[in-house]
């Protein structure tokens, strides 16, 4: 983070009651350090454990800057990320800029599939939403905010499992615009085991549903803000309707193929989907200048990966609606 091609920034580390040697390591970093362009001040806040949202709120409240960049402790920013993201704030209506998250621990089937998902499924959708200046989730690994927008939104909340989605919706509800900057890149470690991945998606889905429910007034009343109603419906569709439809369609078509002689039709249907994914992935890989070796994964991506993720989403949706209590769970980082 000292290598950013930007002159005017500081780093505030918020130690959220760590029980290992994090405090000592963070303390050894406090002070002024030589950055690429200027001297960079590193400060440390030690607080009792209260979760990521309280840690971020502590850092935001401590900061005197007009803009704050919120990230995850295990993410790495690309040198130009800040320079490219900050320029959008010349537009006074922009309240936040969502960055581009890339998977750093690739070369494994599961992490490669997630790399493809981040490019095709998440970043492409963010580009589309950015055209309307209404990105619906500012990713945890990189989000640059106008501090006033966070204050207007009432800071990060602790009442959902997806504090980044919730804050984004609150910023949009406060009538700010949100843009996506593909060159503001943050590298993050993706789960390398299926169980970890399912835990992560389980938490994301429940968090998104909780965030949607918090803003249900906007969902059902387009007269408050038509843009925000459209955003919430698209989130509702992606989180609830689409996974259910996808699972039901797969089950239905498998039964139709096995018992009613529709196997050739179903095969064509799957091939059609794979081609569609291939074209879409190709477009995203070209626009993002990504690795072309990810392209063949599109076949596995549609047939298995998305289906597994959708089953996980459906299960978490049911559990959320039944009000089953869940724990946070934490991804074991290898420090790639």
């Amino acid at each position: 983070m000292l290598n950013l091609n930007y002159s005017n920034y500081e780093i505030i580390i918020v130690n959220d009651g760590s029980t290992d040697d994090t405090k000592a390591i963070a303390e050894s970093m406090v002070g002024y350090h030589k950055g690429t362009v200027s001297q960079i001040k590193i400060s440390l806040i030690n607080k009792v454990n209260g979760g990521k949202s309280t840690a971020l709120n502590a850092g935001i409240k401590y900061s005197d800057a007009e803009f704050v960049l919120c990230m995850d402790g295990d993410s790495q920013l690309s040198p130009d990320s800040l320079r490219f993201a900050v320029r959008h704030f010349k537009d006074a209506k922009i309240g936040a800029v969502a960055g581009n998250v890339k998977v750093v621990n690739r070369k494994k089937l599961l992490t490669d599939l997630q790399a493809l998902e981040y490019i095709e499924g998440l970043n492409m959708a963010r580009s589309a939403q950015s055209y309307l200046r209404a990105v619906n989730i500012i990713p945890g690994p990189i989000g640059l905010f106008r501090k006033k927008a966070i204050v207007d939104a009432g800071y990060y909340s602790r009442d959902t499992f997806a504090e980044d989605a919730d804050l984004t919706l609150k910023i949009l509800a406060a009538d700010w615009n949100i843009y996506y900057e593909p060159r503001a890149i943050s590298f993050t470690e993706a789960p390398s085991k299926l169980q970890q991945l399912l835990k992560q998606r389980y938490r994301w889905t429940r968090g998104i549903i909780q965030s949607i429910r918090k803003h249900k007034k906007l969902l059902i009343n387009p007269t408050i803000s038509f843009r925000n109603t459209a955003i919430l419906w698209s989130m509702f569709y992606e989180a609830l309707i689409w996974p259910t439809m996808n699972i039901a369609a797969h089950l239905f078509f498998i039964i139709a193929a096995l018992f009613f002689g529709f196997s050739s039709l179903i095969i064509f249907w799957w091939i059609g989907l794979a081609i569609l994914d291939f074209i879409s992935a190709l477009y995203c890989i070209i626009t993002e200048k990504e690795e072309s070796r990810l392209l063949p994964y599109t076949i596995v991506y549609r047939m298995f990966f998305i289906l597994v993720i959708d089953i996980c989403k459906a299960m978490s949706t049911i559990e959320e609606f039944l009000g089953i209590r869940m724990t946070w769970g934490k991804l074991e980082r290898t420090g790639v």
Partner: protein, 122 residues
């Protein structure tokens, strides 16, 4: 290395305005909904079973029709979703500018929350 001369310790209180944890929804409320929707589905199924012999459709042709209609509907929704996203992403890239203003560099705080991440922080 710690720069002792440049460090000042400040003690400040952060007011926590938010509730601890998240609200749980009463299970009975949703179980009731599930039971009601199940009951409605069973009723619909019974209506189909009862009225089907009175129409020109047979069970197998009904299944064939429903498979084809579902397939087409599913593909239409999928294609609409894909092409809407692709088209809007194309519009976004079309208006995207690569220009940066070197004179505009406001002060930014980077907030790094850490919990037992010393290994990664290092």
């Amino acid at each position: 290395m710690i720069n002792e001369d440049k460090i000042s310790k400040i003690l400040f209180l952060i007011r926590e305005d938010h509730t601890n944890g998240y609200s749980q929804i009463p299970q009975k409320h949703y179980l009731g909904r599930i039971l009601w929707s199940g009951l409605v589905s069973v009723l619909l199924l019974m209506v189909i079973i009862y009225t089907l012999p009175k129409t020109i459709l047979s069970v197998s042709s009904l299944l064939e029709y429903s498979i084809i209609v579902s397939l087409v509907l599913f593909l239409m929704i999928l294609l609409f979703r894909y092409f809407t996203i692709l088209f809007m992403a194309y519009l976004y890239f079309n208006e995207y500018t690569f220009l940066t203003d070197n004179n505009y560099s406001p002060f930014v705080s980077i907030i790094v929350p850490v919990f037992n991440e010393g290994k990664v922080l290092k």
